[in-house]
């Protein structure tokens, strides 16, 4: 592969993996079963990213393993009034090259929805929220790859054997006990705190033993605000996919996360955006939000943006239509982190710790965390 008998694309992809592997001390390459490629949004990678992805496609690069891709910068449903589709033609060129290489155009940050990994499987995923969920919830093995490294892994079927692919690096060293006073709806804020406060991989006790949005939200936030790729979860992370060698014990209490929590603005004229769906909603998350909208809707104070995987628009069209009829703005295959919003808001209220981290930085908007239910209640004008 390296010497070019499979063409430029495979030779370059292989050279990327070999050179990176050599630099990080890998002794060999290993086969992966699933690559997930981030950095495919035109808003993020621009015309130079489009050019290079196009070069790999034109040079004959083709997926050798199951490959999924992250959200793009446009709303693929065409329904959203909040996401700007100005770069549609450029995004479609990126998508055509990616699809031409055989990548599945799922346009979502939840690749585990399409292929839940098994414990111990080797993956090459970019998208930090998916990486931490693969390692911590599924017990699979992946490093936090950059988009181009995941692309290289897809075209070759390999990645470099280092980091979290090795047992010796899958070790929790901080025992983190969670205050039962911290309600699951606020685990986005808890994740932000973990990312900012804990350096080594923690073993978390006292969290709900579930695989639902509560934990995914916490993990995604920890990966955004910190450099985490593995947070072992008592009763969730499959046994024998990590070791615990505890050096330090930490207790996180309710007061620690208060700085992230939403405080309603005093001015009644403030433009408020409620946002749910980061990481993208799974079907059960969408159903839950629709139930909340049935109870409290329609949306009448500010706006409510929901982001879902691209195919939900057709696959769950009844739920999508119902949410839209109750005033929600649904965007498919994108999210506010990798796209351009049509308008600015004074304040964003969200359950998502990851979007708190990025939206406050990228769009320089004030952001506050609340539970899904409180977000829906607020934008439906049920609060005060």
């Amino acid at each position: 592969m390296l010497s070019g008998e499979y063409g430029w694309a495979v030779a370059k992809a292989m050279e990327i993996l070999v050179r990176v592997g050599e630099a990080v001390g890998a002794d060999s390459l290993i086969e992966v079963v699933h690559a997930h490629v981030a950095g495919v949004s035109f808003s993020t990678i621009g015309k130079h990213g489009l050019e290079l992805i196009g070069e790999f496609y034109k040079a004959g690069g083709r997926a050798r393993v199951f490959t999924t891709i992250n959200p793009g910068c446009i709303d693929y449903s065409g329904f959203s009034r909040l996401i700007d589709n100005a770069y549609e033609s450029e995004q479609r060129l990126i998508d055509a090259a990616l699809e031409g290489m055989g990548f599945r155009p799922v346009h979502t940050c939840v690749p585990y929805y399409y292929r839940p990994p098994s414990p111990g499987e080797h993956l090459a995923w970019s998208e930090s929220s998916a990486v931490i969920i693969a390692n911590s919830v599924y017990g699979a093995r992946t490093n936090r790859e950059g988009g181009l490294l995941a692309l290289a892994a897809s075209l070759t079927g390999y990645t470099y054997r280092a980091g979290l692919h090795l047992d010796e690096n899958r070790v929790a060293r901080v025992l983190l006990k969670i205050d039962p006073e911290i309600r699951p709806g606020y685990y986005g804020a808890l994740g932000l705190w973990i990312g900012e406060s804990i350096r080594k991989a923690p073993l978390v006790t006292g969290a709900p033993k579930t695989m639902d949005y509560v934990l995914r939200n916490m993990l995604a936030a920890a990966a955004a605000s910190g450099n985490h790729a593995l947070v072992a979860l008592e009763g969730v992370t499959p046994p024998r996919t990590f070791k615990a060698e505890i050096e330090e014990r930490v207790f996180v209490e309710k007061g620690d996360i208060e700085k992230y929590v939403f405080n309603p603005p005093k001015s009644t004229s403030s433009e408020i955006l409620g946002y749910l769906g980061c990481p993208h909603m799974l079907p059960e998350d969408l159903l839950y939000v629709v139930k909340l909208l049935r109870k409290y809707g329609p949306v009448k104070r500010g706006k409510l943006l929901l982001t879902v995987p691209r195919e939900f628009i057709t696959k769950y069209s009844a739920l999508v239509r119902e949410a839209a009829a109750l005033g929600a703005d649904i965007a498919a295959g994108t999210c506010p982190v990798v796209s351009t919003p049509r308008r600015k808001f004074d304040y964003i209220i969200t359950s998502s710790g990851k979007s708190y981290f990025y939206l406050s930085k990228i769009h320089r908007t004030r952001v506050g965390i609340a539970s899904d239910e409180e977000v829906v209640k607020y934008v439906c004008g049920v609060y005060g």
Partner: protein
Amino acid sequence: MSAESMVKIKQIVPGICKGRLLLLERYVSFFGEVDPESGCLREENICISNVVLAFKGTRGSTVAPYIIYALKKNGKNPICMLVEEAEPMLIAGCVVAEIPLYAVEDLSKLRGFAGCHVKVVGDTLKVECSE
């Protein structure tokens, strides 16, 4: 009069590396900081094309490889790069753009050699300064 010095380096992306040294004793963010059309840093009057660019490293941006590749396509690329920390996205960018990349243990050893002619020979960087 000329002074000659040698600094130990490690090859990451192989290739010929010789030219005038530009030393930036800090991290460089290719995404945002570098204009791939001009080959210059946006906020400063410093151009990185056609020099041996020595800097601390990059911050792991997903977009960095695309900018490095664009520099090469536009003919505005550095001849080669010397860094203290070579993170994966910088390496990936140098591989696709075919820009040689070397790691240098301590960048401060190059202090005072800015503008001098440097050349990679094996695992050393030869520095020649003429006055």
